[in-house]
C-alpha cells in the first residue's frame, strides 16, 4: 500500500477504505511526524463530522421538502378555489346564455309574427290606396259622363225647341242637328256603360 512517489508520507495501517477524500495528497506541513502513530483518531473525528454534515444536509433537505410541499399545497388549494370560482362563473354564464337564447327565440317568434302582420298591413294599405285611386278614376269618369249626359239633355231640349218652331228651320238642318245630337248622346251612353260595366 505504499506509494513510491510519496515516500515520506506514512500511510495509516488501517485506512478508511470507502472515503475517497483520504486518498488525496496531504500538504507536507500538516503531515505528522513519522514516529507518531496516531492515525485512527482523525478517522473517527472525520467520520463524526461527516455524520453531522449528513444530518445537517438531511435536516435541510427535510426543511426544504416541507417548504416545497407547503408551497405546492398552497398553490394547489389556490387552483382548486379558482377552479370552483370558474365553474360557478361558467354555470352562471350558461344560465344567462340559456335564458338569453330562450328570450331571443321568443323575440324572433314575435318578430316573425309582427313581420307577417306588417306584410298584411302593407298589402291592406296598398289595396286600400289602390281602391281609392280606382274609385277616384271612376268618379272622374262618372263626373265626365254626367256632364256629357247633361249636355246631351240640353242639346235634345234645344232640338225639341227647334222642332216646336220647325217652320223657322229647314228640315235638312233639323235632321242634321238630330243626327249630331244623337251621335253625341250615343257616345255619352257608351261611355256611361263603359264606366258602369267596365
Amino acid at each position: 500500500m505504499t506509494d513510491d512517489t510519496v515516500p515520506s508520507t506514512p500511510v495509516p495501517a488501517n485506512p478508511v477504505p470507502t472515503n475517497p477524500v483520504l486518498t488525496n495528497p496531504v500538504p507536507s506541513n500538516l503531515v505528522p511526524d513519522a514516529g507518531v502513530a496516531s492515525a485512527p483518531k482523525p478517522a473517527r473525528a472525520s467520520g463524526k463530522r461527516w455524520l453531522v454534515a449528513a444530518l445537517v444536509v438531511a435536516c435541510l433537505a427535510v426543511v426544504g421538502l416541507t417548504v416545497l410541499t407547503s408551497y405546492l399545497w398552497t398553490v394547489h388549494e389556490q387552483y382548486v378555489a379558482q377552479n370552483q370560482e370558474l365553474r360557478d362563473a361558467a354555470t352562471d354564464l350558461g344560465t344567462d346564455v340559456a335564458a338569453t337564447r330562450a328570450a331571443l327565440e321568443e323575440l324572433q317568434a314575435d318578430l316573425d309574427e309582427t313581420t307577417a302582420q306588417l306584410d298584411v298591413a302593407k298589402d291592406t294599405i296598398n289595396g286600400l290606396a289602390n281602391s281609392e285611386a280606382q274609385a277616384g278614376d271612376d268618379r272622374l269618369a262618372l263626373i265626365d259622363v254626367a256632364d256629357g249626359l247633361q249636355e246631351c239633355a240640353e242639346a235634345r231640349q234645344n232640338l225639341i225647341d227647334h222642332l216646336n218652331e220647325a217652320s223657322r228651320w229647314t228640315p235638312e238642318s233639323l235632321a242634321a242637328s238630330e243626327r249630331s245630337i244623337t251621335k253625341y248622346c250615343d257616345r255619352v251612353e257608351d261611355a256611361y256603360d263603359e264606366v258602369v260595366n267596365g
Binding site: R49, L68, Q78, I125, N126, A133, Q134, L140, Y184
Partner: protein, 251 residues
C-alpha cells in the same frame, strides 16, 4: 484539521448544490393562478340584425314611398302612369304620360292625393316635370353615378294603373332609343314592366334613382331614360316646353 476542512468543503458544496437545485426547481414549480377578471362578458356594441332596414316605414321601402301614381285626363281619354318626387313640390314622369293632359292627379303609396298645377315637357327626351299643390313628403335621391352592367336595378310603379308593385332585374346595357329616336342612349333592364309603369323611378341597390322607366316589351325587358339625360333635363328648366292642352268643343 484536514478532515474538518474537507467536511466544510463538502458541506459547502452540498449547500451550493442544494441551492442550485432549489433555484433550478423553483423555475419549474407551478405558480399561483392569475387573478380572475371581474367579468367574463366582453363589451360588444349591439349591431343591427338587418331584418328591418332603416328606410322601411309601415312595411314600405323608401323607393316604394317615393313612387307616385299619375292619373291623367286628356281631351280624348283617361290614362295612368307613374312618377316620383324630386323635391317637395315637383315630380318627374314621362313626357308621353303628361303630354296633352287637361287634368292630372298624383297618388302616394298611402292613398294621399296631390293635384298637379302645371307641367313642362322635355324637348328631346321622354321626361316631364310636374308641379303640384301641397307638399310631397317622400323625396327621391338621385345617384351620383350611372349603374354598371349587371347591377340589380329596382322599378317601383303602378303597372296598368293598379296597385303599387316593385320589380327587380339586372342592368344589361346602354342602347339607342329606337322608340323615340332620341339622341341619348337609354338603359336596357331585364325586368318586367307594363303600361302604367311609365315614369317609374329606377333605382340602384342603394335606393338612389338612376333612371326613369319609359318603355317595355310587356314581358321581361324594360327601358329607362338614363341618369345623365334626367340630370340635364332638371338642370335646364328653361329648355322645357309648357304642357298645354285645349280641347275642342264636342258635338
Amino acid at each position: 484539521m484536514a478532515s474538518r476542512a474537507a467536511v466544510t468543503r463538502g458541506v459547502s458544496a452540498a449547500f451550493v448544490g442544494m441551492a442550485a437545485l432549489v433555484l433550478a426547481g423553483c423555475s419549474s414549480l407551478p405558480q399561483s393562478p392569475e387573478p380572475l377578471p371581474s367579468s367574463f362578458i366582453p363589451d360588444i356594441e349591439a349591431s343591427s340584425t338587418g331584418n328591418t332596414p332603416d328606410d322601411v316605414v309601415a312595411g314600405f321601402t323608401a323607393l316604394e314611398r317615393e313612387a307616385l301614381r299619375v292619373r291623367v285626363r286628356t281631351c280624348e281619354a283617361y290614362g295612368t302612369g307613374s312618377a316620383f318626387a324630386i323635391d317637395d313640390t315637383h315630380a318627374v314622369t314621362n313626357r308621353h304620360v303628361a303630354e296633352g293632359a287637361t287634368d292630372m292627379t298624383l297618388t302616394g303609396y298611402d292613398g294621399t292625393r296631390y293635384a298637379v298645377k302645371s307641367s313642362v315637357l322635355s324637348p328631346d327626351s321622354d321626361l316631364a316635370l310636374l308641379t303640384i299643390e301641397g307638399t310631397l313628403p317622400n323625396i327621391a335621391r338621385l345617384a351620383d353615378a350611372e349603374p354598371a352592367t349587371g347591377d340589380i336595378l329596382t322599378i317601383a310603379g303602378y303597372p296598368l294603373g293598379e296597385a303599387l308593385a316593385v320589380r327587380e332585374g339586372p342592368y344589361v346595357a346602354s342602347v339607342p332609343d329606337d322608340l323615340d329616336d332620341a339622341p341619348d342612349l337609354v338603359y336596357q333592364i331585364d325586368a318586367e314592366s307594363h303600361p302604367g309603369n311609365s315614369g317609374s323611378p329606377v333605382a340602384n341597390e342603394a335606393g338612389e334613382v338612376v333612371g326613369v322607366l319609359y318603355a317595355s316589351d310587356d314581358v321581361h325587358t324594360s327601358f329607362a331614360v338614363s341618369l345623365p339625360t334626367l340630370e340635364r333635363f332638371l338642370d335646364n328648366p328653361d329648355d322645357a316646353e309648357r304642357n298645354r292642352a285645349t280641347c275642342e268643343a264636342q258635338g
